[in-house]
Amino acid sequence: MEAENQIQVDLGHLLAFDPYHHFASPPKSREDLVTECLRAGTKLVQAITDGLFNLSATEAIEGPLVKLPKPTTRLPREKHLPRPKPPTKWEMFAKSKGIQKRKKNKVLWDEQTDSWKRSYGYDRVNDDADVPIIEAKMTDEPGSDPFAKRKEEKKKRVEKTEKNRLQNLKQAAKVGALPSHVQLAATALPITGTQAAPKKITKDELGNVAGLAATATASGGKFDKKVAGEKAVKHQGKHRKFLPAAEGSGMGNREKEQTDKVLSKLMARNSHEILNVGKAVSMYNVKKQRDGRNQKGRSSFDSSSKLKPNGKPMKGDKKSPYQKSRKGGSHGGGASRKGKVD
């Protein structure tokens, strides 16, 4: 009987579980099911309150306050356990040298003002920047400002500490233990390879750029206000000439000239690819006529292509699509054959 009545109670979660509950008979209707479930629920809640009210209670304003025990059912966490921070560079150094942390006072006695002043922050004791007179040393150069020098040194110190802090945070971020309120953001894209030195602009380059800017205006930089000491623009005037909008079409037609110039340039550049078919045909015909006339009067050797100095075909002898068939041609026959071998 006792084993049957074992209800698992977890007070930490206010949870009760009855693993032995079953329906004696399948419930006939919905209401039966509900009442049966409520009965089981009541039994379980009673078991929890039995345990709860027997805990030692302290009196609070609203009523008895009870300290809950730790829950027995384990539930998964929602986030990972906080990772320990890796030691900073200073901490590692201090550990290796055995340097102990010393407790510093927040306020210190200031002799000059006879008061307690902060050791850091606004209105602090022994502030480096508040000194009114700095005595000159023998090693000082004349004309150097010791106050400015002190400021510079402080700036350098601050930069160094910031750099060290960044390095420490980067180390922590590598392990995954960055503090929750800190984010590291990249300010510039990483430069692969060696870091490029910043380019120094020469006087000439600067002048060129200034000139460019000046002539970019519509009036070509003629009416720009000049700074004292600025020299005149090197290539003054407009760099582009626009043709008039309306012009007659005659001999001096500049637009026609322009387009003709462009066309001739194009043709000249690509002339080796262009085949002037009509010209090739007429050249071929003329050559053939000439050869035919010559063939009647000359020996074969002179005109054989094999004895020519280069052995190259003559310039006009291109294979013409309009080539006449040689068979049964009027100039056929004869032992020697003239012209290139096709």
């Binding site: 206010l14 949870l15 009760a16 379980l44 609070a60 929602e78 300010t187």
Partner: protein, 299 residues
């Protein structure tokens, strides 16, 4: 080149610290959202769950069509929302012909999906349909009793998983001490068959009984529904091990003001309040006493 960004406002700093991982966790926030198609039943179910968990839940009312938790690519949206709202349990409702009135309850670990349970809702009765004495109505945010009854919760895998997920969903804030006056609600969950679970929300009435322990009476107030388990996905072993880790560092209490245990033994400092010796008149009395002594000695 890197830059250190710290929040410029204290409010932002407080929010960030709330979201940072803690040694002992104090309760998960719930995200309630829906898919492309929802039925009336589903709408009211999601609304009621939101009302039950008012302070620790976020409800999204827009339709999301790219959330498919059981598919490998369909979890990215959920993980993004979990990151954005800092919620580690989500309740996603969707209706389709194959799975009518479907709810997927899932948990996340480190904003990655940890496990999922898919249940169908049947025989849903909303809060308005229950008639009861208004004085018994449970308060928002009170810590509930949670009861499970049925052998199925121990023997069947899906029901065991569902039990764990429902416990995580319904338990309130994790607190160390509890006021016994504020116990007013209970979730009664019964395993009806091998895949069906009956869930109802009741108010608790503590009645006088002979002993210190009061007699319990349950009154049904809240939504009641049948949950039919459809699919579930358990977490993979390594993730489960990592999520269940407990750290013992935080359990040691920090003892202040005690130093030097080795040779001297325990040494502590006692701080006395400022004894105003000069103004209390004791010095005058001492002086007078010495004068009297002096006169007595020399005379």
């Amino acid at each position: 080149m890197m830059k250190i960004n710290t929040p410029k406002k204290k409010r932002v700093l407080r929010e960030l610290e709330k979201r940072a991982p803690k040694l002992v966790e104090t309760g998960k926030k719930t995200l309630i959202l829906q898919g492309l198609k929802t039925s009336n039943v589903l709408n009211s179910v999601l609304k009621e769950i939101y009302h039950l968990k008012r302070d620790s839940a976020v409800r999204y009312t827009r339709k999301n069509d790219n959330i498919r938790p059981f598919e490998s690519g369909g979890e990215t949206s959920l993980e993004f929302f979990s990151q954005k709202t800092d919620c580690s349990i989500f309740v996603y409702g969707n209706t389709s012909k194959k799975r009518p009135d479907n709810i997927i309850i899932g948990r996340t670990y480190d904003h990655q999906i940890y496990d999922l349970v898919e249940v169908g809702v049947e025989n849903f009765k909303p809060m308005e349909s229950f008639k009861y004495d208004k004085k018994l109505a449970p308060q928002v945010g009170s810590k509930p009793f949670i009861t499970f009854a049925g052998e199925g919760f121990e023997s069947i895998d899906e029901l065991k998983h569902l039990k764990e997920v429902l416990l995580d969903l319904f338990r309130g804030e994790v607190v160390e001490s509890l006021s016994l006056v504020g116990l007013d609600r209970v979730y009664v969950i019964t395993a009806v068959s091998s895949d069906r679970v009956f869930l109802t929300h009741c108010a608790v009435r503590l009645k006088k009984s002979g002993s210190v322990v009061p007699r319990i009476e349950l009154v049904e107030v809240g939504p009641s529904m049948d949950l039919v388990v459809r699919r579930h996905r358990l977490p993979n072993e390594s993730l489960r091990k990592e999520a269940m880790r407990i750290s013992t560092d935080g359990l040691k209490k920090k003892i202040k003001n005690v130093v030097g245990d080795s040779i001297q033994g325990k040494v502590g400092k006692i701080y006395m309040p400022d004894q105003k010796v000069s103004s209390s008149g004791i010095l005058d009395r001492v002086v007078t006493y010495c004068q009297v002594l002096n006169t007595k000695l020399f005379w």
